[in-house]
C-alpha cells in the first residue's frame, strides 16, 4: 500500500488486478508533463545550448521532450532562448498565439528574462515577460544544459500541481490571444488602454516642450535691398498684438498688426528696405527704408507688457 504513487487511491481487493483508481488531474498531468514537445525555435546563443541539450551527452529524450516541432500548432513548449529584439517580438507573439493550449513558456537565459547584457540596447526588449506569460525562468548567460534541464524539471513539477478545474484555458471567458505589437517609430502594444496611455504621455510631453518654447528672433539677414528679420515660435500659439521690434542703431520701432497670431513652429519675416514685399501672410513689411546697419546692429523683440523677449546681434560676427 505504502509504495503507491501519490494521487493513487486505495483499491478494493476484488478489483485489485483489473482497475487502477486515480484522479483526472493526475493522469492529465502525468501525460502532459512527460510529453512536452518543444518548438524548434532558437533566437541567439542560448539556442545552441538548447540544441546541445538535445544531443547525446544531456539527452532531452529522457524527459519525453526530444520531439521538437517546427510548427507552433504541434508544440506545447516555447523556449525563448536568447535576446528578444523589438523586431523579433512581433513574430514571437504571433507564434505564441498560434500554439494550442495548454502551452508553456520557458524564458532561457538572462536576455530573455530581463534583457541581460544587452538591456540598454535600443532594439532590445527588456524581458519577454513584458509580452507573453512565462512559466519558468532559467538564469545563466547562457544557461548550461544542466541548468536548462533543471528548468524542465521545475516546469514538470509546476504542471503536476495544476488542476483541470482551475486552469484558465477551460474557462468560458478565456481568450488566450495576446494583441500583437506593432513597429512604429518604436514598438507599441495594440492593447487600447496602452495605446491611450502612450498617446496621453506623448501629448503631455509635446505640450511641456511647447510650454518651454518661446518666440524669439532667429535670424537677421539681407538679400540685396531686402532686409529680413526672422522671428520663430517654438512654443504655443502667441497673439502678438502690441508687440514691438526695436532696432538698436536707428532707434526705430515696428508695431505688429493687431490680432496677428504666430502659430507653433511657424515663423514671421519682417521686411524692410527698397525691395521689401510681403509674399505670404507671414511676411510683414515694415518700411521701404533701410533699417539695419550692416556693420553691426541689434534687434530687440518686446512683448505687449514692455518686457524684452529676445535680442539678436547682427554683423561683425
Amino acid at each position: 500500500m505504502s509504495n503507491l504513487p501519490p494521487g493513487m487511491a486505495e483499491v478494493p481487493e476484488e478489483v485489485k488486478s483489473n482497475v487502477i483508481l486515480s484522479t483526472v488531474d493526475f493522469v492529465y498531468n502525468l501525460a502532459r508533463s512527460y510529453s512536452l514537445w518543444p518548438m524548434t525555435f532558437g533566437l541567439a546563443c542560448c539556442a545552441i545550448e538548447f540544441i546541445v541539450t538535445g544531443t547525446a551527452r544531456y539527452d532531452m529524450s529522457r524527459f519525453g521532450m526530444e520531439v521538437a516541432r517546427p510548427s507552433p500548432r504541434q508544440a506545447d513548449l516555447m523556449i525563448v532562448s536568447g535576446t528578444v529584439t523589438k523586431k523579433m517580438v512581433v513574430p514571437i507573439v504571433r507564434l505564441y498565439n498560434q500554439m494550442a493550449e495548454p502551452r508553456y513558456v520557458i524564458s532561457m537565459g538572462a536576455c530573455a528574462t530581463g534583457g541581460g547584457p544587452f538591456k540598454e540596447g535600443y532594439n532590445v526588449v527588456s524581458g519577454i515577460d513584458k509580452f507573453i506569460p512565462v512559466d519558468v525562468y532559467v538564469p545563466g548567460c547562457p544557461p548550461t544544459p544542466e541548468a536548462l534541464i533543471h528548468g524542465f524539471i521545475t516546469l514538470h513539477n509546476k504542471i503536476k500541481k495544476q488542476s483541470v478545474r482551475t486552469v484558465p484555458w477551460y474557462r468560458k471567458d478565456y481568450v488566450g490571444q495576446i494583441p500583437i505589437p506593432v513597429l512604429g517609430p518604436d514598438i507599441f502594444s495594440t492593447d487600447p488602454a496602452k495605446m491611450r496611455q502612450i498617446r496621453d504621455i506623448n501629448m503631455q510631453r509635446l505640450m511641456a516642450s511647447r510650454a518651454a518654447g518661446k518666440v524669439s528672433i532667429a535670424e537677421l539677414r539681407h538679400a540685396g535691398d531686402d532686409e529680413v528679420v526672422v522671428i520663430r515660435n517654438t512654443g504655443l500659439a502667441q497673439d502678438m498684438t502690441g508687440w514691438q521690434l526695436h532696432s538698436g542703431q536707428g532707434e526705430r520701432r515696428f508695431h505688429f498688426p493687431a490680432g496677428f497670431v504666430l502659430m507653433p513652429d511657424a515663423e514671421v519675416r519682417i521686411h524692410s528696405g527698397p525691395e521689401a514685399e510681403a509674399a505670404t501672410p507671414n511676411d510683414l513689411v515694415w518700411t521701404t527704408q533701410r533699417i539695419w546697419r550692416h556693420e553691426g546692429d541689434t534687434a530687440t523683440l518686446i512683448d505687449a507688457g514692455g518686457a524684452v523677449v529676445s535680442t539678436f546681434s547682427y554683423g561683425g560676427n
Binding site: K87, Y122, I198, R199, N202, R205
Partner: protein, 587 residues
C-alpha cells in the same frame, strides 16, 4: 592631422586628378582623404591598376563629439581595400561628409560587396549612397525614428555617454533604468506621437515581378513569393529570406535581417575597452575565443608595443583559436547535414567532439561557450595543471580519428554528393568582388587566408597550408571545412610541442587602458572568415567608434547570386554552407 600639402605631392594626382585631398597619418596605415565625387574613379583605378580587388570593410563614423572636427566634416565613410594576391596592409580611403546632407557615391559598381555594408551605414548613420539600387534599412525597420548610431541619438535607457555610469548607483542603491522612462519600458516615441493614427510605411522588397514565363504557347505560370523565416528551422536562427519562385526555381532572393540586432556597436561605444571583451563572445557565439583574439589584437595595435603578449600567452591564444576553429567547423558540418535532411544524427556525432573541446574551454576560462579569456597583452589566466596533457590526448589521438570518421561517413556519401556538387556556384572573381572571405572564398578556389596573407600573433611560425578547393560549389565549401580541421590539428600539434613556461600577461594590465588618439583596423582569420575590428580612439578609456566587420554578414551578400537558378530546397543548403551565425550578422 591632415597637414596642408601641395597638390603635387599628393598621391594619384596623375591617375585621378584632384581625387586625394590630403593624406592623414594613422597609427598603422596612412589614409587618403578622398573627394566624394572622385571616389568611384579612384576606387576603379586602385582595383584595376594596383590590385586592390577586395573591399573588405566599409563603415561610417560620426565625429560630432570629436576634438577638432566641425559640422562640415562630421561624418566620415571609411573604406578598407585589400589585395587578395599580395596580402599585407590595406589601402584606407576616407570620405568626409557634412552634417546637413551626408551623401556619398555608392561603390557597388566597383565593389559589389559594398551592398549590405552601405545599407547598414544608411540605416545606422543616415548616410545616403547615390547609385545604390536598394538603399533600405537593413537592421531596423522602415519607420524607425532616427539613425541610432549617431552620437546625438540617445537610446531610451540612456544614462551617460560612457561607462561607468555615475547614475547607476545614486546613494549606493541601484536605480532601475525603467523608472526613469515615462513608459517604464525600453521605448521612446517622438513627442506627440499617437499610436492610433500610426500607419506603417509600405515596405517594398525589390523583387522583379514577372507574369508568365514569356514563352508563346507555353503554360502561363505565375511567380510566387515565399517568405522563409524568421521562424524557420533551416535558417540557423532568426533570419528571413524573401524568395521569388517560378515553379521550384528561385528567380530572385532578398535577405532580410536584423531580428537579432542587439546594438552591439552602440553599447560598445559606451563601454570601456575591457568591458567589450565579454560582448565579443556573443558575436559569433560558436567561436567566442576567436572573437576574443580579434578584439585583443585590435586593441593591442592601438596601444602599441608595450602590450605585446609574452610567449606563453601567444601560444595559448593560438591553441584556443585553433580549437575554436575545430569547434565551429564541427558544428557547421553537423547543421549543414541537418539542412540536407539528415536530421540530427550527424549533429550528434559532431557535437560529441565539440563537447570535449568545450570541457577544455571550461577548465581554462570557467565557461563553456562565453569564454571571455583573452586580455590586452595576454590571457586572463593560465591553464590548470594537466590541461595541456588532456589537450594533447585530444589533439593527437581522438580528434584526428573522429575527423577521419566524419570524412568517411559523409564525404563520399551519394546523397551528399547528389545534393551538393555543382549547387550554389560562385566564381572566384565574383567571390572576391562580393567581399566573401573564409571557407566561402576558399571553396571558390582562392587560396586567401589571413593567417598567411597578413600573419598575426605567431602564425608565421607554424607549418600549415591554406586549404582551397576550386569546385566553387556547396560541396567545395564543405570540403574546405573538413580539411581546415586537419590543418588546425597540424597547427595545434606544433603549438603544443613548442609552448614554453612563463608569464601569461604583458603590459601594465589593470582594468583601464587609454590608447592614443587614432584609428586602427585589425583583422584575423576567424572560422567564418575575416573578422575585423575598426576602432577609433579619442584618447579616453572608451572607444569612440567600435565597429565589427562580421564575416558571415558580408558573406551573405553572395546569397542571392548563388541561389538564383537553383531549386528552393537548395537555397536552404546554400545558406547552410555560408555558415552564418545571427549574433554576428545582426550584432
Amino acid at each position: 592631422m591632415s597637414d596642408a600639402q601641395s597638390a603635387t605631392s599628393l598621391p594619384y594626382q596623375d591617375a585621378v586628378p584632384g581625387a586625394v585631398l590630403a593624406v592623414e597619418k594613422g597609427l598603422l596605415d596612412d589614409s587618403l582623404i578622398v573627394a566624394p565625387d572622385k571616389l568611384v574613379p579612384l576606387a576603379t583605378y586602385l582595383r584595376d591598376h594596383e590590385g586592390y580587388d577586395m573591399l573588405s570593410n566599409l563603415t561610417a563614423v560620426d565625429y560630432l563629439k570629436f576634438k577638432g572636427r566641425t559640422k562640415a566634416d562630421r561624418f566620415e565613410v571609411v573604406y578598407h581595400l585589400y589585395s587578395t594576391r599580395r596580402g599585407g596592409r590595406p589601402k584606407v580611403l576616407k570620405v568626409r561628409l557634412p552634417e546637413d546632407n551626408p551623401v556619398a557615391p555608392s561603390l557597388i559598381s566597383v565593389y559589389p560587396g559594398a551592398n549590405l555594408q552601405e545599407r547598414e551605414a544608411w540605416d545606422l548613420y543616415g548616410i545616403r549612397f547615390t547609385g545604390h539600387p536598394n538603399l533600405r534599412r537593413i537592421l531596423l525597420w522602415e519607420g524607425f525614428n532616427g539613425h541610432p548610431m549617431r552620437k546625438d541619438w540617445l537610446e531610451p535607457y540612456y544614462e551617460a555617454d560612457v561607462k561607468p555610469f555615475k547614475s547607476r548607483h545614486p546613494d549606493g542603491y541601484h536605480a532601475w533604468a525603467e523608472d526613469r522612462n515615462p513608459w517604464g519600458d525600453n521605448v521612446r516615441y517622438p513627442d506627440g506621437f499617437d499610436p492610433e493614427t500610426w500607419q506603417s510605411p509600405v515596405q517594398t522588397v525589390p523583387l522583379p515581378r514577372h507574369g508568365g514565363n514569356g514563352v508563346p504557347g507555353a503554360i502561363k505560370t505565375e511567380r510566387l513569393v515565399v517568405n522563409m523565416g524568421p521562424q524557420h528551422p533551416s535558417t540557423h536562427g532568426v533570419f528571413r529570406m524573401v524568395v521569388e519562385l517560378d515553379g521550384e526555381t528561385v528567380t530572385a532572393l532578398e535577405p532580410e535581417m536584423g531580428y537579432l540586432h542587439r546594438n552591439h556597436e552602440k553599447i560598445g561605444e559606451r563601454n570601456t575597452y575591457l568591458m567589450n571583451m565579454p560582448y565579443t563572445d556573443r558575436l559569433d557565439y560558436l567561436s567566442s575565443m576567436s572573437n576574443n583574439l580579434a578584439y585583443a589584437i585590435a586593441v593591442e595595435k592601438l596601444l602599441g608595443d608595450e602590450y605585446k603578449p609574452p610567449e606563453r600567452a601567444e601560444y595559448l591564444r593560438v591553441i584556443m583559436a585553433e580549437l575554436t576553429r575545430i569547434v565551429n567547423h564541427l558544428f557547421s558540418v553537423g547543421t549543414f547535414l541537418n539542412d540536407l535532411g539528415a536530421f540530427f544524427t550527424p549533429l550528434l556525432y559532431t557535437v560529441r567532439e565539440r563537447e570535449l573541446i568545450l570541457d577544455l574551454f571550461e577548465a581554462a576560462s570557467g565557461s563553456r561557450m562565453m569564454c571571455n579569456y583573452m586580455r590586452f597583452g595576454g590571457v586572463a589566466r593560465d591553464v590548470p595543471d594537466g590541461w595541456l596533457d588532456q589537450c594533447r590526448q585530444l589533439v593527437y589521438e581522438r580528434l584526428p580519428a573522429k575527423i577521419d570518421e566524419l570524412d568517411r561517413y559523409l564525404t563520399g556519401n551519394e546523397i551528399v554528393q547528389q545534393r551538393c556538387v555543382g549547387v550554389g556556384y560562385l566564381s572566384p572573381e565574383d567571390a572576391i568582388a562580393l567581399s566573401c572571405t573564409g571557407p566561402q572564398l576558399r571553396g571558390s578556389g582562392v587560396p586567401y587566408d589571413i593567417r598567411k596573407a597578413e600573419p598575426y600573433s605567431i602564425y608565421d611560425r607554424f607549418d600549415f597550408s591554406v586549404v582551397a578547393f576550386d569546385g566553387c560549389d556547396v560541396y567545395s565549401r564543405y570540403l574546405v571545412r573538413i580539411e581546415e580541421m586537419r590543418e588546425s590539428i597540424k597547427i595545434l600539434k606544433q603549438a603544443l610541442k613548442q609552448i614554453p613556461e612563463g608569464p601569461i600577461q604583458g603590459g601594465k594590465g589593470g582594468y583601464t587602458v587609454r590608447p592614443p588618439v587614432g584609428d586602427v583596423y585589425s583583422r584575423i582569420e576567424a572560422p567564418k572568415g575575416e573578422l575585423g575590428f575598426y576602432l577609433v580612439s579619442d584618447g579616453t578609456g572608451n572607444p569612440y567608434r567600435y565597429r565589427v566587420r562580421p564575416p558571415s554578414f558580408i558573406n551573405l551578400t553572395a546569397l542571392a547570386p548563388m541561389c538564383i537558378g537553383n531549386k528552393v530546397a537548395d537555397s536552404v543548403i546554400i545558406l547552410g554552407a555560408i555558415d552564418i551565425v545571427l549574433g554576428e550578422v545582426d550584432r
